[in-house]
Symmetry: C2
Subunit: 364 residues, 2 copies
């Protein structure tokens, strides 16, 4: 009857280049304070889960770095994904590990690279979610939207299912993909929608049944891996099977087609820290915006500089001096510097693709 | 009857911060190609002057660096100025040294930190100037204006005096200070004005007579130093006298009030390289502007970046990545980075003053 956490630590955070890199993914960065995103992710659930009940799914390149950041977790709790196949396969892999350990476990699928300001409230909603999950629901945490963002998927609430520990739990009417600006505005104004945070709570058997029903080929692949669990052939089996696994997100692969899905709308100071602008907003919310509207990390001298993010290098004391700028992002990552207006922040991804195309591997 | 050069190497080039620093002044920077500005200044006159006829006036801090850059010049030809007092005292100090060595010398006052593209033409006009100077004229080199700049003083031509080696030599009607935009436009359209380059050719006795007539107190101070020349008391005398010397420019102190002043208008590809925009223009003229209008020195990847100067650090391979920028200056000096729109380039000076006020000495 254990309550377990599965921390998804697979991404890299491309839009946080040049600080995020292949060998230095977003979850290993100290973007907020002196702790890495992954350290924050482990710290905030530590009071709720015993260390042996916290599992981490990550790529083999990243496991050594992550386990160094969380020395309290047993080494065998780091589950290596041979290559990234999207959230559905990563969750499936974690689920068979958990199911083998405890067939009655409820699992909370959490993220390694998001920030949550109100950790107590977060732990309360996780506890409430466990109770709903034990009743057979797939529970999703829906973030109460602070703006009509087009950067997230949305969850539409249906009827109120019940209230647990002060949290209202709704039937999910439907999951929607990232909307247009107009649609996002309508959704937020309706009060019926929350952002899809990518955090879920469900019973281990329940999610494996959903894979069986909605992704039957993948469920067969999982069974093949499952049968090798705890044997010498586990790794070769995983490597072999994973080659054939199709990329899929849990939203599209499972959630959108599932029955008995619940959402708990929460306001926990959540941020996906998905881009430099998003980090600036988060740091501003934490009181790091000065009276010129600038968010400054590191050494900066500015003349007539407003509403900008200045993110200095943490390894040295390099000074960033600016004159006559507004709404700008300046990031110094030591071996690379980014200068980009805030309203072009999404194009950082294109820049990284350009570096890939031009074979500038040293900067990836 | 020697023809001598006096290279004025006193300035620091504040507007080229963060590359220019107190201990690394503009004349010691490799802004154009692989040679420092001072090396360019010495190289281009080497065919015209014997090394012992090239004198350099500079602050004591800068002399070791400059003499390393010009190992062919005799060490005693570096004349130390105890502190900067403007161009008039620096020229006066050089003049008494030259006059002691050769009372009949004609001296060319040249700059250490300007760029001249057409060096052969430059040497020709220096030779022609010597001839005019031997007739008793104070000769100034006037730069044919390429734009109605408000950043330079202007020289108005009077009657044609004569032609020497194909160069037209005019009486100077008057020197004018930096004009307003409207005045600058009128002056350039009239065809009667050239920019004051700060380069002069005159007989050593002639300039000392002008100091006598127009800056008599300073001439007395010079005599006191002159009498100590070649003795052990030279340095203490210089230090003592220099404390009392009044700051003065040669334009205001001598040229504006002098008689028998000639100007030779020249087109020698001159640039004062006085600011980042000025360097960008110079490098563009030398073919260094790409098809997006960018002038790039170092490693750069840009998306939607136009008409900007990207000046990377020469000591490492740091990448400067930009998105959605235009008409921007980005300069990486290793321990400091500047980001500034081109039309704010003059404010770099204010930024340096701010660093002084805030006691950020490490960056000065």
């Amino acid at each position: 009857m254990a309550f377990c956490a599965l921390i998804m630590a697979g991404g890299t955070g491309t839009r946080l280049w040049p600080v995020s890199r292949r060998h230095r993914p977003k979850q290993s960065l100290k973007l907020v304070g002196d702790r890495t995103m992954f350290e924050h992710a482990v710290d905030r659930i530590a009071p709720l889960f015993q260390p042996e009940h916290i599992l981490v799914v990550a790529g083999s390149d990243h496991v050594p770095g992550l386990s160094q950041q969380a020395p309290g977790l047993p080494p065998e709790n780091f589950i290596v994904e041979p290559m990234g196949r999207g959230t559905a396969p990563a969750i499936g892999l974690g689920a068979i590990h958990l199911h083998r350990r405890d067939p009655d476990a409820v699992m909370a699928v959490l993220t390694a690279d998001h920030f949550i300001a109100d950790v107590e409230h977060f732990r309360s909603v996780l506890s409430a979610s466990e109770e709903i999950a034990r009743q057979g629901y797939l529970v999703t945490l829906g973030i109460e939207p602070s703006a009509p963002s087009t950067g997230y998927g949305y969850i539409q609430q249906g009827n109120l299912l019940r209230t647990v520990d002060g949290f209202e739990v709704f039937h999910v009417e439907r999951f929607t993909e990232k909307p247009t600006e107009e649609t996002a505005l309508q959704m937020v104004e309706s009060g019926e929608y929350t952002w899809n945070s990518g955090m879920f709570v469900w019973h281990g058997e329940r999610i494996l049944e959903e894979f069986q029903a909605q992704m039957p080929d993948f469920r067969v692949q999982l069974s093949e891996i499952e049968s090798a669990l705890g044997t010498n052939s586990y790794e070769p089996t995983l490597d072999r099977v994973w080659q054939r696994v199709t990329k899929q997100s849990i939203d599209y692969g499972v959630m959108e087609g599932a029955e008995e899905v619940a959402v708990i709308p929460v306001d926990i100071g959540w941020s996906d820290v998905g881009s430099w602008g998003s980090l600036a907003e988060l740091l501003a919310r934490m009181g790091r915006r000065d009276d010129r509207g600038n968010v400054v990390v590191g050494k900066h001298v500015g003349l007539d500089t407003n509403d900008s993010l200045i993110f200095g290098n943490q390894g040295n004391q390099r000074l960033i001096a600016t004159i006559g700028l507004h709404d700008m992002i300046i990031v110094d990552a030591g071996d690379a510097i980014l200068v980009c207006p805030l309203d072009h922040e999404q194009e950082v991804r294109d820049l990284v693709h350009r570096l890939e195309r031009e074979d500038m591997k040293g900067y990836l």
